[in-house]
Subunit: 199 residues, 4 copies
DNA sequence: AATGAATGAGGCTTCATTCAT
DNA sequence: GATGAATGAAGCCTCATTCAT
């Protein structure tokens, strides 16, 4: 059933690109990349399907823009907060809380980034941006090992353990299996430090 | 009216259901549920696409069968190895190594189960089977807390941290970012115990 | 889901061809030729799908056998009962009641023949067998016109009117819109005679 | 991932919905509902197969729209022409000629409606619209019986006989077995009246 | 710039038919 | 002769993408 109704410019609305990215984020998290249709994104963004192609070349370009954008956002945030000269124990604490703050403020974006890690539709540049935080955390741990405050295991292993623990906690939280208050978050942070700390 | 072309029964070949499940597992891990086409599975299994429908009612029924099957396999394996009367420290170690053994022996199955957690195409029975191992690990931790050997934080939180750390480690391993030898595995196990252990 | 269960000859059962024809008749009437799948027929006949191909070359061969078989049955029945020397009024009455008797005794077969008239999957021989009764009825009406007892309109037109009225009545009956008792049938017969009778 | 092949909007062409309905009508009459493939309809309508789904939710929705549309058209036409105050004999004649006029002007639509009566793919609303003309004709006959000009048989039976005769005549005409000129049509009308008229 | 009808490849699924057992 | 698993073409429908308005 078609309506010959209104075409052309609709009532002014800025941020079109932004609303497309938001809608796409929500859809991709909910149903995955291949499970999301462009018209679904358009509907959620309250625009026409064709409009998406004024801002992004393709569906793939859209996921990649989303992925890169959020990955950079979180990296910048963590780097900005990082206390350069502070003791490792303090650096660890700050990173942890910064990550929690991000994952709490932008749960969908965080879920998106975690779920879409290494997906086949991510292009080279996206994958490149991918490693920054983990590289950074690895470096921090490696420095701490030199000081002898962290276990002398492979620093990459320790980093993945802590990162995994963090993601596991957040995922359980999104999925409603876990309440998180300040005490729990701080307790978890301490537990993760204990995991890597030299005894 | 169909073409009179040659179709029909080809030379015998056993294990068809098994080879479908194997092929589907590999495809789903590689490209996700929606990213995998039935003909791709068929090709990998070296059968005709239609044959899949003799064994499974639909693509959804296939993922669910896969999910349930592997989830049960791993649960049974962990439960069978669990040392009932042993000290918690020992129980923890056994579970850890059992999980590693499974994830190493069946990396694709393990990846599949982790990636497809809580996906929208999983049906009720599949989701029901989902909680068994985590419930079990939670109970173990809760018992240890009574003994005072584990931190007095929310046992669910501790469980998710350890589980997350484990998954993080295994994922880094599949993705080639991490070498895992016996020492690394044992070191990681100790680190995870340190995470939850009372100081 | 497959079972390696019983193959080969099942408990003796004669009339396999007959039960296939019966099942096919019911299915074709209910859902049409293209709407009926061979496995559905097999299930209704309580045999394996492949078995049908021992008796019929194809689905088309099956409909055609069915069509020809019933068409001949009804024709033979009508011809057998036809009172050669009797007055036309009597001949008309006999034919009418013979048709009603058949349509009542074999409602599915009658419905099948009416619904599948001139379908594209009927082959030459089937269509050839198609005309016999109508030709016969036409001849009867033409003779009656010579006697002056029937209207001097195109005999084919009169024949189609009567035949159409008969089919309309029977169809309304199968479809539950019409009760038919002996009085109704006799009344309808008289009405049809009045339709063609010279005034 | 889809091919980057050229797709998208082709040069304008109006009346798409109408041409889909026309093409579908022709196909359904020729090969039946299950015997008609959506691509066949699309080809006949000279549009892409997918376009049909912009206008109709499914193949079933398409048949139902077709059925309802034509059924209403014919009913409106008959009702509009019906001479309310005239004698029954005249009303009968008008209805008859109106039906013939419709069946002659729109032979495919008429064939479609007759062939698809009570098919399993017709939905509730379609079946509801189905009875109007027959109910109307029945009422007319019932009134005539009160006047004593029509036989005192079940009015539904008489209606079905006349309707059946009419359909039989038209069908023979479409199928090329019968020439119909004004005299034949008028003669048939008189014959049908004679069928139901009290003697 | 925005729209959304149109396109047509491709996805899931069905089913007529074959053939090893 | 009977079986039913296997085949693969074809059916219905979806959806990424284009482009006239």
């Amino acid at each position: 059933m078609q309506t010959k109704a209104k075409r052309g410019r609709p009532p002014e609305r800025a941020d079109r690109k932004e609303s497309i990215l938001d809608a796409a984020l929500a859809c991709f998290v909910e149903r995955g990349f291949h499970g999301t249709a462009i018209p679904q994104i358009a509907e959620k963004a309250d625009i026409a399907a064709g409009t998406i192609y004024h801002y992004f070349d393709s569906k793939e370009a859209l996921v990649n823009a989303l992925y890169r954008g959020w990955k950079q956002t979180i990296a910048q945030r963590v780097f900005a907060a990082f206390p350069q000269g502070a003791p490792v124990r303090e650096q660890f604490r700050v990173m942890w809380h910064e990550m929690v703050a991000f994952a709490t403020a932008e749960p969908t974006a965080f879920a998106f980034i975690e779920l879409h890690n290494h997906a086949s539709y991510l292009d080279g540049p996206s994958l490149a941006v991918d490693r920054t935080i983990k590289d950074f955390a690895h470096a921090m741990i490696a420095r701490a090992q030199v000081e002898g405050v962290v276990k002398p295991l492979d620093a990459w292993l320790l980093m993945e353990l802590v990162f995994g623990a963090f993601v596991g906690m957040m995922r359980a939280h999104w999925e409603g299996r876990l309440q998180l208050d300040a005490a729990a978050i701080a307790g978890a942070e301490q537990a993760c430090w204990d995991a890597i700390a030299a005894r």
